[in-house]
Each structure stands twice: as C-alpha cells, then as structure tokens.
C-alpha cells in the first residue's frame, strides 16, 4: 500500500484520542509513574506527557505480556480437565506514542514467534493492535537507530506515523496500512489532505556510529574475544536490559497451582540470569556473566540475522538507560567494530 499523506492539526490530536476512546478502544500510551514512562491504558489525553525522548519500558507487552496464561487445568476424582486460553477474544488495542524504533522492533519479535512454528497466541494479540507511531524530533546519546537500519522518521511497523512539523506545529500523518486508513476514514474531518511535506527537516539528527553488517561479520570470529570478559565485569546479572527491550522475547514457562486447579503461564525471562541455562544436574553451559553478556550481543547481532533474517536490536537505547551498572550496548558495539580483526 503506498503511503497516504494527511495533515492533522495540533489541537485535533486530543480530539482523535477522545473519539477513539469513545469508540471503546483501549488506548495504551506512555503514562508516567514514579518518574518513569511505561505504556499503560490511558484514560485521558492529558495523562500523556510531551517532550520526552523515549519511554522506559517498550510496548511489547500488548502482544507479549510479562505474564500470560497458556492453559488452565483442574483435577478431580473423575480425572483432569485442561483448557487452553481462548485465542479469539483478545481486546482491540490502540498503541499510541510508539517511536519508529519500537515499531520496527515489532517485526523482530514477530520473526521469533513465527519461526517455523506459528505462535497464534502472540499473532492473535498483535492482530488486534493498531500502532500509532510518533517520529522523533529529539534524541539523546543513548539512541542509535540509524546504526541498525532505522531512522527517527521510519514508517516501518506503524499503521499511522505522526511527525510533528516543528515544535509547535501540526502533524503529518502518514497512513501506511489498512488499519491506519480505517481510522482516518472514520474521522475525515480531522485528517486533511497534506501537500508536499519534507518531514526530514523535523527529525532528530542521529549520526551513524556503526554498521550492523560489519558487526555481524566481526562476530563470526569473536566468540573467544577477551572483550566479553572485560566489558562484563561490571554487569550485575539482572534482567533489566532484557525486560525493557522491545525485541527481547525469551520466556519461561511456569505452573502455578492453587489446590486442585491452576494454570500454566508464560513469563518474561532473561539470558542474563545465571539460572537461564542451568541444568538440573548443576551443569551450566553459561556459568559466568561474560558468557551471558556474549550471548546477548551475539544473539541480537549474529544468530538472529543468520537464522531469522532480522537483527535483534532497534537502537532505542532503553537497555543502556535502564542498566544500573551502565553496561552501554552502543559502547560495546563500537568496541567490536573497532576491534582488530
């Protein structure tokens, strides 16, 4: 579908929000709590802050919740009944305020959940999400989308991408999919035809720091490098980076029982935890943090492109911002690029 360009006046964004809400859509938008921004159900437009560069948490929860039931069971004298969760009644969600890097990340997670075996729980959730992306007019030193094939005005992954034309300007609305045009055609009064608008001059300037393909090439011979040990000494082995990341999708499966009934759930997990690969025998293929840090980087920049044809990083910088030990991924990647062959 070719890109359909519209203009929406700055005061109409709130109207758009309100009308979508009235149409009983759940709107997940960046909502502040304790000084951090996460995607939560927003009740009113005024809850959504302006002027921020990036949210603390990604929006992957709408399709890949942190804790998700897979099935319920109940035992009785007659036997056991097991019911899988119903895949066809997930709620419709509007994801509001997603950055282009996050929208690009959705394809990366979808690649994992559709690799040979199709995870219909994930696919079904995602099919009910409409993504309203917002371009970036500002960036900070943690952002590096341009180094991983993205850019601050990238339309990939969004259903509509809004770009603010100046600090106090109206918005260019690029309608990219059927889901997007379903919204614009519902509200013709709000979306005017746009003339020729060059959005590039309203986007943040993010210099390219490295090239994905060069990192991937370097990593082919980097498994034994000492860099993994040096860089990971300060890593504390928590899961913050994986959990805030828009493309990390590793999970655990746990049974939770309450007497004779219970459920099996899927929940987020991180390759950074020592428990992740621990065998019951006590043997751990990745017993030290350097091996786990290496796995993180290699999986995102070598294994995923090799097996799934997508990289596992969108350059959003969340992991580096969230890390309590300042394990900066951009720094590590530049270091790999600059390493002697």
């Amino acid at each position: 579908m070719s890109i359909d360009k519209h203009l929406i006046r700055k005061d109409s964004l709130e109207k758009l929000f309100d009308i979508l809400k009235q149409n009983s859509k759940k709107i997940y938008a960046p909502v502040p709590k304790n000084g951090k921004l996460s995607f939560k159900e927003a009740e009113s437009y005024s809850e959504i802050p302006t002027g921020y560069i990036q949210t603390t948490q990604s929006s992957k929860e709408v399709a890949f919740p942190r804790t998700e039931k897979l099935l319920d069971y109940s035992k009785s004298n007659e036997g056991i009944t097991v019911k899988g969760i119903k895949i066809d009644d997930f709620p419709e969600i509007i994801l509001w305020g997603v950055r282009p890097c996050d929208a690009m990340g959705i394809d990366q997670i979808s690649a994992i959940f559709n690799w040979d075996y199709k995870d219909e729980i994930y696919n079904s959730r995602l099919s009910r999400v409409t993504i309203l992306g917002f371009s970036c007019s500002k960036a900070d030193e943690y952002c590096f989308c341009t180094s991983v094939g993205g850019n601050p005005g990238n339309t990939e992954g969004s259903d509509i991408l809004f770009t603010r034309l100046g600090d106090d300007g109206d918005y260019l609305a690029e309608v990219l999919t059927g889901k997007g045009s379903a919204i614009t055609s519902m509200l013709p009064g709000l979306f005017e035809k746009a003339g020729e608008i060059k959005k590039e001059k309203f986007l943040a300037d993010i210099p390219i720091k490295f090239k994905n393909e060069e990192i991937r090439k370097k990593l082919e011979n980097f498994f034994e490098s000492d860099q993994w040990i040096e860089h990971s000494l300060k890593c504390l082995g928590c899961g913050a980076c994986a959990y805030v990341c828009p493309t990390c999708a590793c999970f655990d499966i746990q049974d939770e029982s309450h007497g004779k009934s219970g459920s099996r759930v899927r929940c987020w997990d991180s390759c950074g935890f020592s428990l992740f690969t621990l065998h019951t025998s006590g043997h751990n293929p990745r017993e030290v943090q350097s091996q786990r840090w290496r796995q993180r980087i290699m999986h995102k920049f070598s294994y995923m492109p090799d097996r799934l044809s997508v990289y596992g990083c969108t350059g959003c910088g969340r992991c580096s911002r969230a890390c309590p030990a300042d394990m900066n991924i951009l720094e590590q990647l530049i270091s790999i690029q600059e390493a002697a062959v």
């Binding site: 899988g84 049974d255 065998h279 999986h299 097996r307």
Partner: protein
C-alpha cells in the same frame, strides 16, 4: 490440536517400569483416540512431558516409531518435575507436547553396519533408534550394541538387554565400571571407551551412534577416530535446558544452533562447529 502451541496431549500412564535406582520408564497412551491416530514421530525426537501444576520436563521419545499405539519415555528422578513424575502411578494422566527436534537419518543408513555405543542413562535416547533398526532388521548389515553403566544395578532396560543378548542378529556387549560388577556378572568390566577400543569394531561402511555423559563422549570419540570413523559417520544426541521445545524461549541454543530445532541429533562433524557452550 488447537492453535495453542503450548497445549499438551493428555496421556495415560499405562505401565510403569522400574529400571534402576531413581530411573523409571512410562508407557503412555493418548487419552484421546483421535490424537493417537494422528500422531507420528521419528526416532530421535523428543517431547515435553508435564505434571499439571508442577511443570514440564524434556525427554526423548524412547520407543520406536515402528510400534504404534503408545510412546515411552525413560527418566531419572533429579529435580522438581521428574520427582513429581516419579510419584505418578499407572492410570495417572500427564501431559505430553511433541514431537520436537530433528531425527536420526535412519533411511540413509540402509545397507550399512550400525554400531550403538551408550552409557548409563543415555541408553534411552538411543533405544528408539535401536528398536527402529531392529524392527527393520533386514535394512541393515551388522548391528553391534556396546552399553555400559556405573554398576550392574544402574543398567537400564535390563529385560531388553537380555532380549538383545539372545538375538543372533545383534552383537551386544555390556560392561560395568571397574568395581561395579556383581559376583555373577558375566559381561565386560571397564569404562565404555576402553571396551570400545577392546572390541575394535570395524569402521568400514559403519555408522556409529554414541550417547553418554560428557566424559564418556570425550574419551569415546578419539577411540572411534583411531578405528577410522569419520566425523560425518558418528551421530550423537545432545541435551540442554529447555522450556518451549520449538525454538522460541531462547534458552537451549549453542551458538546459533538450537538443540530443540537443529538437534537433538548431531553428527560429530556438526559438534566440531559448535562453540564451547554446552
């Protein structure tokens, strides 16, 4: 089966066999006949066996695909789920997801000699392919099985070992570690790699399938190399911590290879490519 990849089949435990201290075999039948009818698998594949409310555990399917109507698994009581499974009696219902993973390319072995080498609790992953071969005996030339365990009581599938001993078309050599023999033990005494070297099976037109604890593999591969086996003709199966079993949860990979998708069956040549991460 529904669209829910995580929904297990319901399985009834038809028979429980005590194999060795802490080791049991379950014979499982599908509760739902239609599931039984539609289910197929190949030797080498594994499944996720679960006790509802406790969790899932990964074992190979230890029975041969030539035997229809049931599947079998053998496991050692080690952790939370295997302890719970061990407490299940005949008639209990458990869950099973599968079959997952790749298979032994048994079709490509037609006309060849087969040499099976296993140690301890690693005989179960090979039992499927041993019976698969024996059920299609005419497809293969000589079949040799070398199996050892720490002691006599640790040998699994004791009845089947007798069965194979009695067969004229199978050469079975059993061994126990020095010190593990009983007074009436008639088999070999020595570590498996030592016995392989002693028996010195021919590598000509032979496929070797080896499975055992890492230390056994480490010492057996060089023996096979000395006997003239090439890495492409040595097969093994690997284990790793698993949860989903189909390449999504991200935890069983060795470098870019997933044990649940690219394995669990690997050739020695493929093992050489794997990074030192297992």
């Amino acid at each position: 089966m529904t669209d829910n990849l995580y929904m297990p089949y319901l399985m009834k435990i038809e028979k429980v066999t005590y194999e060795a201290p802490g080791v049991k075999t379950f014979m499982l039948k599908f509760v739902n006949e239609e599931d039984q009818h539609n289910f197929t698998f190949k030797a080498g594949q594994f499944g996720e066996y679960s006790v509802y409310g406790v969790g899932e555990s990964t074992f190979c399917i230890a029975s041969s695909p030539t035997r229809e109507g049931y599947i079998e698994c053998t496991f050692r009581q080690t952790g939370k789920v295997t302890n719970a499974l061990s407490g299940c009696e005949e008639g209990s219902i458990i869950g099973f997801r599968g079959p997952y993973g790749n298979t032994f390319p048994i079709d490509e072995w037609k006309g060849k000699n087969l040499l099976f080498i296993a140690g301890g609790i690693a005989l179960p992953p090979m039992r499927c392919v041993i019976w698969n071969a024996l059920d299609l005996r005419d497809n293969f030339k000589d079949v040799t099985i070398i199996y050892g365990a720490r002691s006599v009581k640790d040998l699994v599938y004791k009845h089947e070992l007798q069965d194979w001993q009695g067969r004229k078309d199978v050469k079975l050599i059993t061994t126990v570690d020095p010190g593990g023999e009983s007074p009436d033990w008639k088999g070999e005494i020595g570590f498996v790699p030592t016995i392989v070297e002693k028996i010195a099976p021919s590598s000509v037109n032979t496929i070797a399938i080896v499975c055992g604890p890492p230390v056994m593999i480490k010492y057996t591969f060089p023996v096979l190399a000395k006997l003239g086996f090439t890495d492409e003709n040595i097969f093994t199966t690997l284990e790793n911590r698993m949860k989903c079993g189909f390449g999504k949860c991200g935890r069983c990979n060795i470098g870019k290879y997933y044990v649940c998708k690219d394995g669990p069956v690997f050739t020695a040549a493929q093992l050489n490519e794997l990074p030192d991460e297992y």
